[in-house]
């Protein structure tokens, strides 16, 4: 096809627009419709043995990818300095159970003798574990909430000494008043952050794949709480920077 250049550009622009639109819509669709194919590879075809071999191969890839993700999450949990021992133990237990469960499931799939059973078991790789849609956000929400708690506790412990610094500062009255205003705002922001982050762990840590997608809004809500707390802590930090500037005179 020998299209004139402007036409080719127009087609390319339309295709690009469609791709951008699809990229925005498809993840949400896929999240609620697990049968959507991310690769477009198509269904396995051919004889029963060929189809079983094809399903086995795809199941192996799917399990391997999820085990890699689970190992990364395990590493993230282990390397977090802020997570409580209890939350760490709970998450590591869940991640380990997922890894061993997927390994057992893959062995089951490889032993399946009918295409129907192999397909049903392969679907369980997604529905039984929800590694990407549930476990990943859950693990990182728990780590984020624990880190927010650490920052909140640290700030809370420093507030009295910051107040003392303002009271005893040799800065001008106006500067001390400005520092006090910033301090009061930091106190307010800290309380808001504590309120926003305090319930995150208990809301998400025991969410189960079997509850998905019904429990997905809980994850979204918890993310909003984590973002709110993060924003509040950022404001408190800005207040501390203002106090520092004010007290310098």
């Amino acid at each position: 096809m020998n299209l004139h250049h402007p036409i080719r550009i127009g087609i390319a622009a339309l295709a690009a627009s469609a791709a951008v639109a699809a990229a925005g819509v498809l993840p949400a669709m896929a999240a609620s419709t697990p049968s959507a194919s991310p690769t477009g590879a198509g269904a396995c075809t051919g004889s029963v043995s060929a189809m079983l071999a094809c399903i086995d191969q795809r199941a192996s890839t799917a399990v391997s990818n999820r085990e890699t993700a689970l190992q990364q999450m395990t590493s993230d949990v282990n390397s977090s300095k802020d997570i409580t021992a209890s939350d760490r133990a709970t998450l590591l237990g869940q991640l380990q159970a997922d890894e061993s469960g997927l390994t057992t499931l893959l062995a089951t799939i490889k032993g399946d003798t009918t295409v129907k059973q192999a397909l049903a078991d392969t679907e369980t790789i997604v529905t039984g574990y929800r590694v990407y849609l549930l476990e990943q956000p859950k693990v990182h929400l728990v780590i984020a909430a624990n880190t927010e708690s650490t920052v909140e506790a640290k700030l809370q412990s420093k507030l009295p000494s910051i107040q003392t610094a303002i009271n005893n500062s040799s800065a001008s009255a106006a500067q001390k008043a400005a520092a006090q205003t910033a301090f009061n705002d930091c106190t307010t922001q800290l309380a808001a952050a504590q309120s926003a982050s305090s319930g995150i762990v208990s809301e998400v840590i025991d969410l189960l794949p079997s509850g998905y997608p019904g429990n997905q809004p809980t994850l979204v809500s918890a993310r909003g709480q984590a973002q709110t707390a993060r924003t509040d802590l950022g404001k408190c930090r800005t207040d501390i920077q203002s106090i520092r500037t004010d007290l310098k005179g």
């Binding site: 959507a36 269904a43 799917a62 849609l133 990182h140 929400l141 880190t147 640290k154 910051i162 501390i240």
Partner: protein, 95 residues
Amino acid sequence: MRGLGRLGAAALAAPALFLVAACAHVVPAPTAPATQSVAPISAPINTGSAAAGPEPAGDQLNQIDDQIDNELNQIDNEIGQVNQGLATSEGDPAQ
């Protein structure tokens, strides 16, 4: 002999001076109490004195700021991974 004696004395004196200099490095002169050299983070931020130079409050607030900055970056990273998880797709392994 007298020349050798001077040389011998010099040879003895040089290591001795070296030793004295080395000792001076090992044992710091007790010019100030150790507690005044580094202010602990948990100490009161400011004594309220109008002494010249940077106020202790500035150093303490800098430390708090740095610590919080690192942890806020970690929180941002975690929330970023939450966003990634919520926006992704499990797909269909059989397809």
